[in-house]
Protein backbone atom coordinates (compact mmCIF):
# COMPACT_ATOMS: atom_id res chain seq x y z
CA UNK A 1 0.00 0.00 0.00
CA UNK A 2 2.85 2.31 0.84
CA UNK A 3 4.34 1.62 -2.54
CA UNK A 4 1.13 2.58 -4.26
CA UNK A 5 1.17 5.88 -2.43
CA UNK A 6 4.85 6.40 -3.13
CA UNK A 7 4.41 5.82 -6.83
CA UNK A 8 1.45 8.13 -6.87
CA UNK A 9 3.44 10.86 -5.22
CA UNK A 10 6.34 10.39 -7.60
CA UNK A 11 4.08 10.55 -10.59
CA UNK A 12 2.25 13.56 -9.33
CA UNK A 13 5.53 15.33 -9.21
CA UNK A 14 5.39 15.21 -12.99
CA UNK A 15 3.03 18.11 -12.68
CA UNK A 16 4.77 20.14 -15.31
CA UNK A 17 3.54 17.70 -17.86
CA UNK A 18 0.04 17.94 -16.55
CA UNK A 19 -0.01 21.53 -17.70
CA UNK A 20 0.76 20.44 -21.23
CA UNK A 21 -2.01 17.86 -21.11
CA UNK A 22 -4.56 20.41 -19.99
CA UNK A 23 -3.43 22.92 -22.58
CA UNK A 24 -3.71 20.30 -25.29
CA UNK A 25 -7.21 19.31 -24.24
CA UNK A 26 -8.34 22.94 -24.18
CA UNK A 27 -6.87 23.71 -27.55
CA UNK A 28 -8.58 20.65 -28.99
CA UNK A 29 -11.90 21.74 -27.53
CA UNK A 30 -11.56 25.17 -29.09
CA UNK A 31 -10.54 23.68 -32.42
CA UNK A 32 -13.79 21.70 -32.34
CA UNK A 33 -15.64 24.82 -33.13
CA UNK A 34 -13.84 25.14 -36.43
CA UNK A 35 -13.86 21.47 -37.28
CA UNK A 36 -17.50 20.73 -36.60
CA UNK A 37 -20.71 22.60 -37.02
CA UNK A 38 -21.66 23.04 -33.43
CA UNK A 39 -24.61 25.27 -34.03
CA UNK A 40 -26.79 22.87 -35.93
CA UNK A 41 -29.03 20.04 -34.90
CA UNK A 42 -26.24 17.58 -34.41
CA UNK A 43 -24.34 19.71 -31.99
CA UNK A 44 -24.93 17.48 -29.00
CA UNK A 45 -23.46 14.46 -30.72
CA UNK A 46 -20.59 16.31 -32.35
CA UNK A 47 -19.83 18.15 -29.15
CA UNK A 48 -19.79 14.98 -27.09
CA UNK A 49 -17.58 13.29 -29.64
CA UNK A 50 -15.16 16.16 -29.80
CA UNK A 51 -14.99 16.39 -26.03
CA UNK A 52 -13.98 12.78 -25.75
CA UNK A 53 -11.45 13.05 -28.51
CA UNK A 54 -9.84 15.79 -26.46
CA UNK A 55 -9.80 13.57 -23.38
CA UNK A 56 -8.50 10.50 -25.18
CA UNK A 57 -5.73 12.28 -27.02
CA UNK A 58 -4.49 14.22 -24.03
CA UNK A 59 -4.80 11.03 -21.99
CA UNK A 60 -2.66 9.21 -24.54
CA UNK A 61 -0.02 11.90 -24.27
CA UNK A 62 0.00 11.58 -20.53
CA UNK A 63 0.25 7.81 -20.59
CA UNK A 64 3.10 7.75 -23.02
CA UNK A 65 4.94 10.42 -21.17
CA UNK A 66 4.70 8.79 -17.77
CA UNK A 67 6.22 5.55 -18.96
CA UNK A 68 8.89 7.22 -21.01
CA UNK A 69 9.98 9.29 -18.07
CA UNK A 70 10.08 6.27 -15.82
CA UNK A 71 12.08 4.36 -18.36
CA UNK A 72 14.61 7.10 -18.78
CA UNK A 73 15.04 7.32 -15.08
CA UNK A 74 15.56 3.56 -14.99
CA UNK A 75 13.15 3.23 -12.12
CA UNK A 76 11.00 0.72 -13.93
CA UNK A 77 13.72 -1.88 -13.68
CA UNK A 78 14.52 -0.84 -10.15
CA UNK A 79 10.95 -1.38 -9.12
CA UNK A 80 10.85 -4.87 -10.47
CA UNK A 81 13.99 -5.81 -8.60
CA UNK A 82 12.63 -5.19 -5.16
CA UNK A 83 10.15 -7.82 -3.96
CA UNK A 84 7.03 -5.75 -4.38
CA UNK A 85 3.95 -7.31 -5.89
CA UNK A 86 3.46 -6.17 -9.44
CA UNK A 87 -0.16 -5.48 -8.64
CA UNK A 88 0.82 -2.72 -6.26
CA UNK A 89 3.03 -1.14 -8.89
CA UNK A 90 0.16 -1.31 -11.32
CA UNK A 91 -2.18 0.37 -8.88
CA UNK A 92 0.26 3.18 -8.26
CA UNK A 93 0.66 3.88 -11.94
CA UNK A 94 -2.99 3.35 -12.74
CA UNK A 95 -4.15 5.75 -10.07
CA UNK A 96 -1.67 8.40 -11.02
CA UNK A 97 -2.54 8.12 -14.70
CA UNK A 98 -6.20 8.26 -13.81
CA UNK A 99 -5.63 11.29 -11.61
CA UNK A 100 -3.98 13.15 -14.46
CA UNK A 101 -6.85 12.43 -16.81
CA UNK A 102 -9.37 13.47 -14.17
CA UNK A 103 -7.58 16.74 -13.57
CA UNK A 104 -7.67 17.48 -17.29
CA UNK A 105 -11.39 16.72 -17.27
CA UNK A 106 -12.05 18.92 -14.28
CA UNK A 107 -10.53 21.86 -16.11
CA UNK A 108 -11.86 21.06 -19.57
CA UNK A 109 -15.50 20.32 -18.76
CA UNK A 110 -16.47 23.77 -17.45
CA UNK A 111 -14.64 25.41 -20.33
CA UNK A 112 -16.47 23.18 -22.79
CA UNK A 113 -19.80 23.87 -21.12
CA UNK A 114 -19.22 27.60 -21.34
CA UNK A 115 -17.94 27.68 -24.91
CA UNK A 116 -20.66 25.53 -26.39
CA UNK A 117 -23.56 26.04 -24.06
CA UNK A 118 -23.90 22.33 -23.52
CA UNK A 119 -24.65 20.91 -20.07
CA UNK A 120 -21.30 19.26 -19.53
CA UNK A 121 -21.43 19.60 -15.78
CA UNK A 122 -24.45 17.40 -15.19
CA UNK A 123 -23.78 14.56 -12.73
CA UNK A 124 -24.13 11.80 -15.30
CA UNK A 125 -21.60 13.45 -17.58
CA UNK A 126 -19.15 13.71 -14.72
CA UNK A 127 -19.82 10.15 -13.69
CA UNK A 128 -19.28 8.75 -17.14
CA UNK A 129 -16.15 10.87 -17.47
CA UNK A 130 -14.79 9.12 -14.41
CA UNK A 131 -15.85 5.67 -15.54
CA UNK A 132 -14.49 6.15 -19.04
CA UNK A 133 -11.24 7.57 -17.74
CA UNK A 134 -10.78 4.62 -15.40
CA UNK A 135 -11.13 2.05 -18.16
CA UNK A 136 -8.84 4.00 -20.44
CA UNK A 137 -6.26 4.48 -17.69
CA UNK A 138 -6.28 0.78 -16.85
CA UNK A 139 -5.67 -0.38 -20.40
CA UNK A 140 -3.36 2.54 -21.00
CA UNK A 141 -1.18 1.77 -17.99
CA UNK A 142 -0.92 -1.85 -19.04
CA UNK A 143 -0.02 -1.11 -22.63
CA UNK A 144 2.33 1.74 -21.93
CA UNK A 145 4.30 -0.65 -19.73
CA UNK A 146 4.21 -3.18 -22.54
CA UNK A 147 5.41 -0.64 -25.07
CA UNK A 148 8.02 0.86 -22.79
CA UNK A 149 10.72 -1.56 -23.72
CA UNK A 150 10.10 -1.40 -27.42
CA UNK A 151 11.90 0.73 -29.93
CA UNK A 152 8.83 2.51 -31.13
CA UNK A 153 7.06 2.94 -27.85
CA UNK A 154 5.22 6.16 -28.63
CA UNK A 155 3.56 4.69 -31.65
CA UNK A 156 3.04 1.19 -30.34
CA UNK A 157 1.01 2.19 -27.33
CA UNK A 158 -1.84 3.92 -29.18
CA UNK A 159 -1.84 1.21 -31.85
CA UNK A 160 -2.56 -1.32 -29.15
CA UNK A 161 -4.72 0.86 -26.93
CA UNK A 162 -7.18 2.45 -29.34
CA UNK A 163 -8.82 -0.61 -30.90
CA UNK A 164 -9.23 -2.14 -27.48
CA UNK A 165 -10.74 1.08 -26.12
CA UNK A 166 -13.47 1.33 -28.74
CA UNK A 167 -16.20 0.36 -26.24
CA UNK A 168 -15.06 3.25 -24.04
CA UNK A 169 -15.28 5.67 -26.93
CA UNK A 170 -18.70 4.48 -28.02
CA UNK A 171 -20.09 4.32 -24.50
CA UNK A 172 -18.87 7.64 -23.15
CA UNK A 173 -19.81 9.62 -26.23
CA UNK A 174 -23.21 7.96 -26.28
CA UNK A 175 -23.95 8.75 -22.66
CA UNK A 176 -22.68 12.30 -22.98
CA UNK A 177 -24.75 12.87 -26.10
CA UNK A 178 -27.88 11.52 -24.45
CA UNK A 179 -27.41 13.78 -21.45
CA UNK A 180 -26.91 16.77 -23.74
CA UNK A 181 -30.12 15.83 -25.51
CA UNK A 182 -32.00 15.53 -22.23
CA UNK A 183 -32.43 11.80 -22.72
CA UNK A 184 -30.47 10.68 -19.68
CA UNK A 185 -32.85 7.84 -19.00
CA UNK A 186 -31.63 6.01 -22.07
CA UNK A 187 -28.05 6.26 -20.96
CA UNK A 188 -28.08 3.60 -18.26
CA UNK A 189 -27.42 0.51 -20.35
CA UNK A 190 -24.30 2.20 -21.69
CA UNK A 191 -23.25 3.21 -18.23
CA UNK A 192 -23.61 -0.36 -17.03
CA UNK A 193 -21.58 -1.61 -19.96
CA UNK A 194 -18.75 0.77 -19.16
CA UNK A 195 -18.86 0.02 -15.46
CA UNK A 196 -18.60 -3.68 -16.26
CA UNK A 197 -15.77 -2.90 -18.69
CA UNK A 198 -13.90 -1.12 -15.91
CA UNK A 199 -14.32 -3.95 -13.45
CA UNK A 200 -13.13 -6.51 -15.97
CA UNK A 201 -10.13 -4.63 -17.25
CA UNK A 202 -8.87 -3.04 -14.09
CA UNK A 203 -8.78 -6.48 -12.48
CA UNK A 204 -7.33 -8.14 -15.57
CA UNK A 205 -4.62 -5.51 -15.90
CA UNK A 206 -3.87 -5.83 -12.19
CA UNK A 207 -3.43 -9.57 -12.49
CA UNK A 208 -1.50 -9.54 -15.71
CA UNK A 209 0.87 -6.69 -14.88
CA UNK A 210 3.11 -9.28 -13.27
CA UNK A 211 3.93 -10.62 -16.72
CA UNK A 212 4.93 -7.24 -17.97
CA UNK A 213 7.35 -6.35 -15.23
CA UNK A 214 9.21 -9.60 -15.24
CA UNK A 215 12.48 -8.28 -16.46
Amino acid sequence: MALVWKDLVVELRGREFLGAMVAFALITIVTLNFAFDLSGSEREASGAGGLWIAFLFSGTLGLGRSIAVERDRGTLEGLSLCPVPAGAIFLGKFLSNLAFILIVQVVALPVFAALYNLPALRPLVLLIALVGAAGFAALGTLFSAVSASSRSREILMPVLLFPLSIPIVIGTVRVTTLVFQDRSGEAWPWFNLLAAFDVVFVSLAYVVFDLVLED
Partner: protein
Protein backbone atom coordinates in the same frame (compact mmCIF):
# COMPACT_ATOMS: atom_id res chain seq x y z
CA UNK B 1 15.95 -33.05 -39.74
CA UNK B 2 13.67 -35.49 -41.45
CA UNK B 3 10.61 -33.54 -40.61
CA UNK B 4 11.82 -30.57 -42.53
CA UNK B 5 12.82 -32.60 -45.53
CA UNK B 6 9.57 -34.42 -45.91
CA UNK B 7 6.87 -32.05 -47.10
CA UNK B 8 4.57 -33.31 -44.41
CA UNK B 9 3.67 -36.61 -42.91
CA UNK B 10 0.70 -38.71 -43.92
CA UNK B 11 -1.98 -37.41 -41.57
CA UNK B 12 -1.23 -33.82 -42.52
CA UNK B 13 -1.22 -34.61 -46.20
CA UNK B 14 -4.51 -36.38 -45.78
CA UNK B 15 -5.84 -33.34 -43.99
CA UNK B 16 -4.73 -31.09 -46.79
CA UNK B 17 -6.32 -33.37 -49.33
CA UNK B 18 -9.59 -33.51 -47.43
CA UNK B 19 -9.67 -29.76 -47.16
CA UNK B 20 -9.08 -29.34 -50.88
CA UNK B 21 -11.74 -31.91 -51.69
CA UNK B 22 -14.40 -30.45 -49.47
CA UNK B 23 -13.62 -26.94 -50.59
CA UNK B 24 -13.92 -27.99 -54.20
CA UNK B 25 -17.33 -29.45 -53.49
CA UNK B 26 -18.19 -26.28 -51.65
CA UNK B 27 -17.21 -24.07 -54.55
CA UNK B 28 -19.22 -26.19 -56.94
CA UNK B 29 -22.20 -25.92 -54.66
CA UNK B 30 -21.75 -22.19 -54.26
CA UNK B 31 -21.58 -21.59 -58.00
CA UNK B 32 -23.82 -24.22 -59.50
CA UNK B 33 -25.93 -26.05 -57.00
CA UNK B 34 -27.31 -23.26 -54.92
CA UNK B 35 -29.78 -20.88 -56.56
CA UNK B 36 -29.01 -17.21 -56.78
CA UNK B 37 -30.50 -14.97 -54.15
CA UNK B 38 -33.78 -13.41 -55.20
CA UNK B 39 -32.83 -9.95 -54.09
CA UNK B 40 -29.09 -9.79 -54.48
CA UNK B 41 -28.53 -12.04 -57.44
CA UNK B 42 -25.28 -13.79 -58.07
CA UNK B 43 -23.18 -11.45 -55.97
CA UNK B 44 -24.73 -12.99 -52.91
CA UNK B 45 -22.68 -16.12 -53.54
CA UNK B 46 -19.73 -14.32 -52.01
CA UNK B 47 -21.48 -15.11 -48.74
CA UNK B 48 -20.23 -18.70 -49.00
CA UNK B 49 -16.59 -17.69 -48.65
CA UNK B 50 -17.09 -14.51 -46.66
CA UNK B 51 -18.92 -16.08 -43.72
CA UNK B 52 -16.71 -19.16 -43.22
CA UNK B 53 -13.63 -16.96 -43.32
CA UNK B 54 -15.17 -14.67 -40.71
CA UNK B 55 -15.60 -17.73 -38.53
CA UNK B 56 -11.92 -18.52 -39.09
CA UNK B 57 -10.86 -14.98 -38.24
CA UNK B 58 -12.45 -15.30 -34.82
CA UNK B 59 -11.52 -18.94 -34.34
CA UNK B 60 -7.90 -18.02 -34.97
CA UNK B 61 -8.04 -15.42 -32.25
CA UNK B 62 -9.63 -17.91 -29.89
CA UNK B 63 -6.63 -20.15 -30.56
CA UNK B 64 -4.34 -17.20 -29.83
CA UNK B 65 -6.20 -16.81 -26.54
CA UNK B 66 -5.66 -20.47 -25.69
CA UNK B 67 -2.00 -20.20 -26.58
CA UNK B 68 -1.63 -17.00 -24.58
CA UNK B 69 -3.24 -18.45 -21.48
CA UNK B 70 -1.19 -21.59 -21.90
CA UNK B 71 1.98 -19.55 -22.14
CA UNK B 72 1.11 -17.44 -19.14
CA UNK B 73 0.33 -20.52 -17.11
CA UNK B 74 3.06 -22.93 -18.05
CA UNK B 75 5.63 -20.83 -19.93
CA UNK B 76 5.43 -23.45 -22.59
CA UNK B 77 7.07 -22.48 -25.87
CA UNK B 78 4.62 -24.81 -27.55
CA UNK B 79 1.77 -22.57 -26.51
CA UNK B 80 3.49 -19.45 -27.71
CA UNK B 81 4.24 -21.15 -30.99
CA UNK B 82 0.58 -22.04 -31.35
CA UNK B 83 -0.42 -18.44 -30.79
CA UNK B 84 2.18 -17.21 -33.25
CA UNK B 85 1.09 -19.63 -35.94
CA UNK B 86 -2.58 -18.84 -35.52
CA UNK B 87 -1.94 -15.11 -35.56
CA UNK B 88 -0.62 -15.08 -39.08
CA UNK B 89 -3.51 -17.17 -40.35
CA UNK B 90 -6.04 -15.12 -38.46
CA UNK B 91 -4.70 -11.93 -39.96
CA UNK B 92 -4.87 -13.40 -43.45
CA UNK B 93 -8.47 -14.46 -43.06
CA UNK B 94 -9.54 -11.26 -41.34
CA UNK B 95 -8.12 -9.28 -44.24
CA UNK B 96 -9.97 -11.50 -46.69
CA UNK B 97 -13.22 -11.08 -44.78
CA UNK B 98 -12.92 -7.32 -45.03
CA UNK B 99 -11.98 -7.45 -48.70
CA UNK B 100 -14.74 -9.89 -49.69
CA UNK B 101 -17.21 -7.99 -47.54
CA UNK B 102 -16.30 -4.80 -49.32
CA UNK B 103 -16.53 -6.39 -52.76
CA UNK B 104 -19.87 -7.89 -51.88
CA UNK B 105 -21.11 -4.62 -50.56
CA UNK B 106 -20.27 -2.58 -53.63
CA UNK B 107 -23.02 -3.91 -55.91
CA UNK B 108 -25.48 -4.33 -53.06
CA UNK B 109 -25.16 -1.04 -51.21
CA UNK B 110 -23.47 0.97 -53.92
CA UNK B 111 -20.70 1.68 -51.46
CA UNK B 112 -17.39 0.04 -50.66
CA UNK B 113 -18.10 -0.03 -46.97
CA UNK B 114 -20.92 -0.15 -44.51
CA UNK B 115 -20.61 0.21 -40.78
CA UNK B 116 -22.48 -3.02 -40.34
CA UNK B 117 -21.91 -4.29 -36.82
CA UNK B 118 -20.18 -7.51 -37.80
CA UNK B 119 -18.00 -5.90 -40.42
CA UNK B 120 -17.05 -3.11 -38.05
CA UNK B 121 -16.08 -5.50 -35.29
CA UNK B 122 -14.02 -7.41 -37.83
CA UNK B 123 -12.28 -4.19 -38.81
CA UNK B 124 -11.34 -3.60 -35.19
CA UNK B 125 -10.21 -7.22 -34.96
CA UNK B 126 -7.95 -6.54 -37.92
CA UNK B 127 -6.29 -3.73 -36.02
CA UNK B 128 -5.85 -5.91 -32.96
CA UNK B 129 -4.10 -8.51 -35.10
CA UNK B 130 -1.94 -5.77 -36.55
CA UNK B 131 -1.05 -4.59 -33.07
CA UNK B 132 -0.15 -8.16 -32.18
CA UNK B 133 2.42 -8.32 -34.98
CA UNK B 134 3.85 -4.89 -34.35
CA UNK B 135 4.17 -5.78 -30.68
CA UNK B 136 6.00 -9.00 -31.43
CA UNK B 137 8.38 -7.52 -33.92
CA UNK B 138 9.27 -4.51 -31.80
CA UNK B 139 9.53 -6.38 -28.55
CA UNK B 140 13.26 -6.82 -28.44
CA UNK B 141 13.95 -10.35 -27.40
CA UNK B 142 11.84 -13.40 -28.10
CA UNK B 143 10.92 -14.22 -24.57
CA UNK B 144 9.65 -10.73 -23.89
CA UNK B 145 7.80 -10.77 -27.20
CA UNK B 146 6.08 -13.97 -26.18
CA UNK B 147 5.09 -12.59 -22.80
CA UNK B 148 3.74 -9.32 -24.13
CA UNK B 149 1.95 -11.02 -26.97
CA UNK B 150 0.30 -13.29 -24.41
CA UNK B 151 -0.93 -10.21 -22.55
CA UNK B 152 -2.40 -8.79 -25.73
CA UNK B 153 -3.87 -12.14 -26.65
CA UNK B 154 -5.71 -12.40 -23.39
CA UNK B 155 -6.85 -8.79 -23.12
CA UNK B 156 -7.84 -8.77 -26.77
CA UNK B 157 -9.84 -11.96 -26.62
CA UNK B 158 -11.78 -10.79 -23.59
CA UNK B 159 -12.38 -7.40 -25.15
CA UNK B 160 -13.65 -8.63 -28.50
CA UNK B 161 -17.10 -9.72 -27.29
CA UNK B 162 -17.45 -6.39 -25.47
CA UNK B 163 -16.40 -4.52 -28.59
CA UNK B 164 -18.95 -6.45 -30.59
CA UNK B 165 -21.67 -5.70 -28.08
CA UNK B 166 -20.96 -2.00 -27.97
CA UNK B 167 -20.69 -1.77 -31.76
CA UNK B 168 -23.99 -3.62 -32.17
CA UNK B 169 -25.77 -1.27 -29.77
CA UNK B 170 -24.18 1.68 -31.51
CA UNK B 171 -25.33 0.42 -34.86
CA UNK B 172 -28.95 0.32 -33.83
CA UNK B 173 -28.69 4.08 -33.76
CA UNK B 174 -27.51 4.27 -37.35
CA UNK B 175 -29.46 1.70 -39.30
CA UNK B 176 -27.82 0.88 -42.58
CA UNK B 177 -28.08 -2.00 -45.00
CA UNK B 178 -26.87 -5.17 -43.40
CA UNK B 179 -24.56 -7.72 -44.90
CA UNK B 180 -26.86 -10.67 -44.55
CA UNK B 181 -30.54 -10.66 -45.18
CA UNK B 182 -30.79 -14.31 -44.38
CA UNK B 183 -29.20 -15.96 -41.40
CA UNK B 184 -29.92 -18.83 -39.08
CA UNK B 185 -32.84 -21.16 -39.50
CA UNK B 186 -34.50 -18.99 -42.11
CA UNK B 187 -31.99 -20.06 -44.70
CA UNK B 188 -33.39 -22.36 -47.35
CA UNK B 189 -31.91 -25.84 -47.19
CA UNK B 190 -29.74 -25.59 -50.26
CA UNK B 191 -28.08 -22.44 -48.95
CA UNK B 192 -27.62 -23.95 -45.53
CA UNK B 193 -26.05 -27.07 -46.99
CA UNK B 194 -23.67 -25.09 -49.17
CA UNK B 195 -22.71 -22.91 -46.25
CA UNK B 196 -22.03 -25.90 -44.02
CA UNK B 197 -19.88 -27.59 -46.62
CA UNK B 198 -17.86 -24.42 -47.02
CA UNK B 199 -17.58 -24.08 -43.26
CA UNK B 200 -16.19 -27.59 -43.02
CA UNK B 201 -13.79 -27.08 -45.89
CA UNK B 202 -12.43 -23.82 -44.57
CA UNK B 203 -12.07 -25.16 -41.06
CA UNK B 204 -10.04 -28.10 -42.34
CA UNK B 205 -7.96 -25.68 -44.37
CA UNK B 206 -7.31 -23.61 -41.29
CA UNK B 207 -6.21 -26.64 -39.29
CA UNK B 208 -3.94 -27.76 -42.11
CA UNK B 209 -2.34 -24.33 -42.42
CA UNK B 210 -2.00 -24.11 -38.65
CA UNK B 211 -0.13 -27.41 -38.49
CA UNK B 212 2.21 -26.37 -41.29
CA UNK B 213 2.86 -22.95 -39.84
CA UNK B 214 3.40 -24.41 -36.40
CA UNK B 215 6.06 -26.71 -37.80
CA UNK B 216 7.78 -23.86 -39.52
CA UNK B 217 7.87 -21.95 -36.26
CA UNK B 218 9.13 -25.02 -34.43
CA UNK B 219 12.06 -25.38 -36.78
CA UNK B 220 12.73 -21.67 -36.49
CA UNK B 221 12.74 -21.85 -32.73
CA UNK B 222 15.05 -24.84 -32.73
CA UNK B 223 17.44 -23.14 -35.10
CA UNK B 224 17.48 -20.03 -32.98
CA UNK B 225 18.13 -22.06 -29.87
CA UNK B 226 21.00 -23.95 -31.45
CA UNK B 227 22.41 -20.75 -32.83
CA UNK B 228 22.46 -19.34 -29.32
CA UNK B 229 24.08 -22.41 -27.85
CA UNK B 230 26.65 -22.60 -30.62
CA UNK B 231 27.56 -18.99 -30.10
CA UNK B 232 27.94 -19.43 -26.39
CA UNK B 233 29.95 -22.61 -26.76
CA UNK B 234 32.34 -21.16 -29.26
CA UNK B 235 33.55 -18.61 -26.76
CA UNK B 236 36.70 -20.06 -25.17
CA UNK B 237 35.89 -19.86 -21.46
CA UNK B 238 32.31 -18.92 -20.96
CA UNK B 239 31.98 -18.52 -17.21
CA UNK B 240 35.23 -19.87 -16.03
CA UNK B 241 33.97 -23.20 -14.80
CA UNK B 242 32.11 -24.82 -17.65
CA UNK B 243 32.30 -24.30 -21.36
CA UNK B 244 28.99 -26.02 -21.87
CA UNK B 245 25.99 -23.84 -21.25
CA UNK B 246 23.42 -25.78 -19.28
CA UNK B 247 20.35 -26.30 -21.34
CA UNK B 248 17.02 -27.87 -20.65
CA UNK B 249 17.01 -31.63 -21.13
CA UNK B 250 14.90 -31.65 -24.26
CA UNK B 251 16.95 -29.10 -26.14
CA UNK B 252 20.19 -30.78 -25.09
CA UNK B 253 19.09 -33.97 -26.73
CA UNK B 254 18.31 -32.06 -29.90
CA UNK B 255 21.74 -30.53 -30.02
CA UNK B 256 23.81 -33.60 -29.42
CA UNK B 257 22.06 -35.66 -32.05
CA UNK B 258 21.60 -33.52 -35.12
CA UNK B 259 20.37 -36.45 -37.13
CA UNK B 260 17.18 -36.79 -35.13
CA UNK B 261 13.88 -35.64 -36.51
CA UNK B 262 13.31 -32.09 -35.46
CA UNK B 263 9.61 -32.44 -35.12
CA UNK B 264 9.66 -35.58 -33.07
CA UNK B 265 10.69 -34.14 -29.75
CA UNK B 266 8.47 -31.23 -28.96
CA UNK B 267 8.76 -29.71 -25.56
Amino acid sequence: MNNVQRRSDLPTQALGLMATLILSVGIYMAFVYVPADRVQGDAQRIFYVHVPMAWLAYLAFAVIFVGSVGYLWKRSMRMDRLARASAELGFLFTTLVLVTGSIWGRPIWNAWWSWDARLTTTLILWFIYLGYFVLRSYAGDRERGARYAAVLGIVGAIDIPIIHLSVTWWRTLHPEPIVLNTSGPNLPNSMLATLLVCFAGFTLLYIYLLVQKYRVELVRDTLAEREMTMMLNSRPHAHGSTSQVPTSPSSRSRITTPGDTVGASED
